[in-house]
Amino acid sequence: MADPVLTTLILTPKGLEMTQLPLGTDDGPVTLRGEGDPTAALKTLLSRHPADGPCSSALSANDVMLMVLNLPATEPSDIDGMVRLQAEEISPFPAERTCVAWELLRQQKQHSRVLMGLCARKPLDQLHDFFQSAALVPDRVDVDVLGWLSLIQDAGHLPEDTDQLLLIIQEEQADMVAWQQGAPCLIRSLGKAAGLSADSLAEELSMVMLSLDANFNPAGQILQVWHSEDPPGWLNRPPSGWQCVLHSLSQLPPLSQGLARRAREAQRIDLSPSAWQEEKIRRKTRRKQLRAGIGTAALWMLLMLGFLGGSLLKQSSLRRLERENQAAAGEAAQVEALSQRVRSLAQFTDRSSSALETLLILAAAAPGSGTLVIDDYRYDKNQGLIFSGSSGSDTQPFYQFLENLSAGDLLRVKSYDLKESRNTYNFQVEAVWNWIDENRGKEES
């Protein structure tokens, strides 16, 4: 089985951007772009590169309220409680329609610097509906500006020991970030990039500087501007006292890669509602149940087909055997008739089972002179003998007679009947030729 892949999908003004980052291997990320209708692009991209593994996405910073909080706690549960309390106080949305997430920026002995993200359910629901078109549910939802910050930091533009003020101008939005000692201390969305001007930037700068504490000191009042396309013209006239240093976002890897790397790390902002995870678990369970059901049904079908097939095979082999028997039956019947004829004819030359021979056998088998009297004797060349008589008042001679008769090779006593009448034992014996049994034995074996 292939290693799972972390898939990050983000909506861009031109369409869709997807990065797949293999998990568990050192392979690098693969980024693909789909232009035009995002839904169609999503289906096209996923048909070529299926999302076999966790899936993440991001909201625009315009849709998320990002705040850096200094909290007097170090335990995650305490921090979580404080963040939620703070979110309830400042959220402009109803509590049940608000999603809150946080990530730890820096931890000191007694307090923690935490980045809190807060957004309404609406943009998340839109994102959910978009992913739903490809039967996907995102496992994580990040914020795009944090992806850019991660990429800028990875590119070495945000040293740990400096304070910087960054202006990130994307195609449709602009964000200002105050970076202090290796972590953001303020993130402010400036709205649509198109609505920004030198004057509005000056206003924003003064507001930002007012809201930051005195320790924040960007060296030489330099504004680091990261822009996606050509830098806007008003940047040629920076606010008084400020100097703009321009960087192109295109020199950085794609945004989805930064977000993918963040998604791979634990304890990052995840705005996805818990309902999504429940839905995902529900879907997974349903899929497992469906697979188990299909597996069971397939097994059942196989079993039933096995029984039916076995029966049919047996039937077919039986029919073949019966056909063969039927084909040979005529010839065998002829040989059988021939065998009977030969046996019958053979008795013209071989007198071992002739009437005279049987009379001699009976005489020899009789235990003593006059102890047994045979009254009736019937000889049949093809069957054997039936005879009856009397043995006086003692049965022993009769039994001795039977024993002697059976000792020979020619006859077998098939049945006998012994009855007493007027102090005399009358008997009737049926004896058959041994060769009849031998023939039957051959047939049965």
């Binding site: 029984f307 010839e331 065998a332 004829r341 030969v342 013209f348 009437a355 009254d375 004797y377 008589g389």
Partner: protein, 199 residues
């Protein structure tokens, strides 16, 4: 359509499972029954096959045996009526043995097509002593492959060995040949045997 509640889903699953189990039982039971029947029939068919093959294997031996026996059987001219001849022979044997024949009825001659032989039978009733009967049978044997007793009935009404009565069916099997091919030296085994036998 209203979605099913978990209880309804559970009930549906249980019903489906019961139905599938029932269906499985029916199919398996029926197929096992069929298999048992087929096995029984197959066993019978195999026995029959073995019997047939034994029979077919035995054919050359039977043919050889039949040829051997046929060679020893008497031959008579094609047109000769043998009923009276056979009756005369039997009567002669009875006279010599002391057996009294109380009736003698010939059956029509039949042709055994597969053996290319003819068969005639005589049904007779007799009376005499056990000694007379044994002598008669002995003389019959001494004639060679001429006649054979198919059925013999003996009754001893008053318990004495010299007042026996009974019946018999005597078979004569022979071939018929054109008169010109008849070789008197070879073709009258009955007559030659009769002269040698001593009652």
């Amino acid at each position: 359509m209203r979605p099913l509640s978990p209880r309804e889903i559970r009930l549906s699953l249980i019903t489906a499972a019961v139905l599938i189990l029932g269906l499985s039982y029916l199919i398996i039971h029926r197929q096992l029954k069929n298999l048992r029947t087929f096995e029984r029939r197959e066993m019978s068919a195999r026995v029959e096959r073995k019997r047939q093959s034994l029979l077919l294997e035995a054919r050359p031996r039977l043919i050889e045996q039949m040829t051997l026996v046929k060679g020893q059987l008497p031959r008579h001219p094609e047109s000769q009526d043998l009923k009276s001849e056979f009756a005369r022979q039997v009567q002669s044997l009875a006279n010599r043995s002391g057996l009294r024949l109380t009736g003698l009825t010939p059956d029509p001659e039949s042709f055994l097509e597969d053996l290319q032989l003819y068969q005639s039978s005589l049904r007779g009733s007799w009376s005499g002593s056990s000694e007379n009967l044994v002598n008669f049978l002995h003389l019959l044997h001494a004639q060679g492959a001429v006649a054979d007793i198919r059925e013999l009935r003996l009754r001893n009404r008053n318990g004495l060995s010299n007042t026996l009565t009974g019946t018999f069916v005597l078979d004569f099997v022979y071939s018929r040949i054109p008169v010109n091919d008849l070789n008197p030296g070879v073709d009258t085994p009955a007559e030659s045997a009769e002269t040698q036998a001593s009652p």
